[in-house]
Symmetry: none
Subunit: 232 residues, 4 copies
DNA sequence: AATGAATGAGCGTTCATTCAT
DNA sequence: TATGAATGAACGCTCATTCAT
């Protein structure tokens, strides 16, 4: 089933499923298969298509049996979401190890990783679903926020190394801007989108723009806007 | 019913509904009420909740009668989407009239309009739904692409004024990056999002960063990336 | 619209619509157009597809207006059925004029007319619908019975000329057998049926068999069955 | 429920439902009950009345539960149709065992079986529905064609024994004529039809006529028609 | 004659959930 | 673990009918 998923380019696995204590190996495998099936449905046909029945069918499972593993749809959705999110968190953990490089290089590298991932089918398809869901579902909202908080943490670390003179809150907002800026490319240059071929250009623009911004921003510009372009 | 919708701050109406020839005034009003009800459901509870039955109920209409106005759900969705999109297109038309200002000021103004709109409940809620839908629905995809194409056209106009030396394709990609960058803020600093209060800072960052980028980018940087930060 | 209907080969028109007194000419024409549209739907898609809405749409009539001409579906169905049946009755009237020919030739000719008509799309499609409907609809049942009674009358006339020695009831049963025998070919060799190309052979078999039967049947064979093949 | 169905006189069961592997006995019984209910509705009120909801109600089943057994109406229709057809096929199989009798006797017997069956309510009601449906439904069309092909095979066997001198294609057309001829009696002398009481006479006429035809037909008469009654 | 509008019913489908086996 | 069975709800759709304009 794995082969149906666009392979994550370098580092991000599709799902990271925690082992459960006290279950047979078969149960663990089945659970994994279920989550993979659900993921594929989510990617290929959207959230609505990811019904218990279709997931069961895709696993060759009788429908009644799926409810043994996941008594309610919510259980399945949550487990899936956690497995997806965990996969990303692992990346941000591993990135921290790059301490040897100069911060600008690390910033660039991190951006490239994120933007490359955005080009995968999985990310292009799943995240808009999550954004939409998070507007009406507290649980999804929290997990997505968590995920992005971790992503920002990586940026904050690098930014504060480049600009130790700025206040922590400014580091945060810069990180937020960088993150938002990249996420926005999903809908224009993600997998199958009209500007997918331009993604390399976008990467270069983003990195240049981010480094310039981080390097040159002055504290007062957060509040007043860039010189001479104030609201009035 | 209007009061349920966060008022668009300055310029963007919620819906622009074309008049139909033939039919009583009551029919036109009913059609408008239906689209408003659908919009509210979409905003407040998401796409799935925007069912024919709930829309009818919200209008005090019997279900059978709703199918008189909109024989199929698709008809309703299309009419709604077109009315929403049309509202944005009007903005982009009116912006073109600002020819007197220097291009940087016009760029800043346009960005502020867009980012302010992103803070409205309507935009924060609807666009993620559209992004998700557009991955699996050709019609939504096309209308969304259309909308963003018009938005980019406004940016291209300004950018090419600032940088007449760049090639048209570069103008396009710069506009794309600006647009994507702003859209990405929806999920972090849109209505009710954790960073909504930081939106003014983000605006300032975005505008400074965009103007710097547009002003300083060199043609070769599209392809090679910023100096010394190439992939290798 | 006429051209959509398979042309009746020689003599049977599609519909015979009586004129109404006290209506404008336009109303009469509209009524005819409506019935033709209904007929086409019945032929091409079956009884269920012949809904008021679809008939109206096919006539370019607004739905509400159709209910002016035919307030209820039943009205429409009845008018259509009567127009269809009347078309056949006209044939049986005209056939009676062939008095000059020997009865066997007239029998053969009548059979050929009927079997040729069965090969038309209209007849192949409509009659099975009528047979099915007549099982659950008294009105249809009566009109169909009427139609076949007239058909049998033509046969009875010829048969009694060939076999004046038989009793009237025997004439009736012979006519019935001939008629039933031919109607049965509809479902095997009617328009578009697998044995449609064999219809000429079936015609020859039928005519030979009918003339032999009518000519040679002995009164006691009605009751006892053919010699030596009695039930026991 | 059985008592609602006119009992098949001698040999043809109403439904032959294959057993399913897996599943409790109760499930099998329920499936049978469902098909019987559907059959009754089809017979008593016609195809349109055989809705999922009415079938469920007739079985004392909640509607949602019926969709467990038959997820779609098409599934139900197909299962029903196959069960009906299978019942007839069994008859044609068993008839082949009558090898001891002279072919004319076997022909007569087969005709009587068929014509007796036509007098049952079930056959009188179902077949016109199938004929009508088969004009617009490929599946029904195929099953009906299959059924009649098997019926003809029985006739072909007997006919070719009586007339080994004729070519196989002529055997086929003779069988076709016999079959069509008998099917046509359904609408005149089937259950509840005006000529139902005359069916015994029709049987005798049919058998005499068929045996005469098969015995006396000359090869050239297929093409030229009976002597002196050619088309011209 | 013609149109617009409203109602109520039925249909087939999909689904999450629950429970007995 | 695994399956079969049952329930109730909602959904989109089509339709015949009725009535005001």
């Amino acid at each position: 089933m794995k082969q149906f998923l666009a392979p994550s380019p370098t580092e991000i696995p599709d799902l990271v499923i925690p082992e459960r204590e006290g279950g047979y190996a078969k149960g663990q495998e089945m659970r994994e298969q279920i989550l993979r099936a659900a993921l594929i449905l989510l990617i290929e046909e959207g959230y609505r298509a990811m019904s218990m029945r279709r997931v069961a069918a895709m696993c060759g499972l009788k429908f009644g049996n799926l409810t043994y593993y996941y008594p309610s749809r919510e259980d399945l959705v949550r487990d899936l979401l956690e497995s997806v999110v965990r996969a990303y968190e692992i990346v941000f953990e591993t990135i921290k190890g790059d301490a040897g490089l100069p911060p600008e290089r690390r910033l660039a590298k991190l951006c490239r990783i994120i933007l490359e991932d955005i080009r995968t089918k999985k990310t292009t398809r799943i995240f808009p679903e999550l954004w939409a869901l998070s507007n009406h579902d507290r649980f999804v909202q929290e997990r997505v926020n968590e995920l992005y908080a971790r992503a920002r943490a990586s940026f904050v670390e690098i930014i504060s190394e480049i600009r130790p003179d700025l206040q922590p809150e400014h580091h945060q907002v810069l990180a937020l801007f960088l993150s938002a800026s990249m996420e926005g490319t999903t809908i224009f240059a993600g997998h199958g989108k009209p500007f997918e071929p331009h993604m390399p250009w976008l990467e270069n623009l983003a990195i240049k723009s981010f480094i310039d911004l981080v390097s040159t921003i002055r504290p007062e510009e957060f509040d007043d806007g860039p010189l001479c372009l104030n609201r009035a």
